[in-house]
């Protein structure tokens, strides 16, 4: 399954990049800089979506004590953290020419930053517990607490911001060109498939590491060689 996802991700990347750079027209307000959106939006959407999926897997692992879903949760975390970082980075590069500042204390930006911290906390907690079962369960609990807290944090930050300086940032592209939409969707799908492929690859490593004593592992083709 992994090759299938990774090849389709690669193909879609090429198509998406082609559409976003050659087909999509130059935006009237933002000139060429809006092309950052084609990587920024998919990264942001997926970083949030992956957190939800991760928390879901973690909850399954905690409630039904299934090892596979806990492993899946821990395999998703690094990808999610990287995408969150990517979304912040590209957001900063977009914000500088558009708003004139690398960073604005906007609700969205702040929550994305906190999301990155939550990912890092999850990874750090998982890494610092030696007993893998306890690590799974403890970090699952943390992921669930985090997912409960994200909405609270989002709204409190939003309120805090509007109270202080008034809403400053609004998404300007109201009516998007068809090619822009196509480019965006293709890139979204590409990043999505990439995330699936890389976390499946990672979960395979984790399974091999954790189940190295099981009989079936030594019968795998790759191990036999």
């Amino acid at each position: 399954m992994v090759p299938w996802f990774s090849w389709s991700a690669a193909i879609l990347f090429v198509v998406g990049l082609y559409v976003s750079f050659f087909v999509a027209p130059t935006d009237s307000q933002q000139s060429e800089a809006y092309r950052i959106m084609f990587i920024h939006v998919p990264a942001s959407i997926l970083s949030m979506f992956i957190y939800l999926v991760m928390a879901g897997y973690a909850a399954l692992g905690l409630i039904f004590n299934t090892r596979l879903s806990s492993m899946m949760a821990s395999a998703l975390a690094p990808t999610g953290a990287l995408l969150a970082f990517l979304s912040l980075w590209t957001g900063a590069l977009w914000g500088k020419p558009m708003w004139g500042a690398w960073w604005v204390w906007d609700a969205r930006l702040t929550s994305e930053l906190i999301l990155l911290f939550l990912y890092l906390g999850f990874i750090a907690l998982h890494a610092s517990i030696d007993d893998p079962r306890r690590a799974d369960r403890a970090s699952a609990l943390l992921a669930i607490i985090g997912s409960v807290n994200v909405p609270i944090i989002y709204f409190s930050v939003q309120w805090w911001n509007t109270l202080h300086q008034g809403a400053t940032v609004k998404f300007t592209g109201t009516s998007m060109h068809v090619a822009m939409q196509q480019g965006m969707y293709t890139m979204l799908l590409a990043v999505w498939l990439y995330a699936i492929a890389v976390s499946l690859l990672r979960v395979r490593c984790i399974i091999l590491e954790r189940e190295c004593k099981a009989q079936w592992v030594s019968e795998l083709v790759e191990v036999r060689r």
Partner: protein, 56 residues
């Protein structure tokens, strides 16, 4: 449209190539790290198998 114009991105070259460069770099590093981890695990398993062979 020639290539020079394309790469200059109407003056936004740094921002745009900065973001895409980092994106590709991150994806690349992640893939390399996962593959490296996989080879490490497989090596470990080979070691364990060989150790068993010696014992039995």
């Amino acid at each position: 449209m020639n290539w020079g114009e394309f790469f200059s991105m109407n003056g936004y070259a740094w921002y745009i190539w900065g973001s895409y460069g980092i994106a590709l770099l991150i994806f690349f590093i992640e893939i390399v790290m996962v593959r490296h981890r996989k080879t490490l695990v497989l090596e470990q398993l080979h070691l364990m198998r060989n150790a068993e062979d010696v014992v039995t």
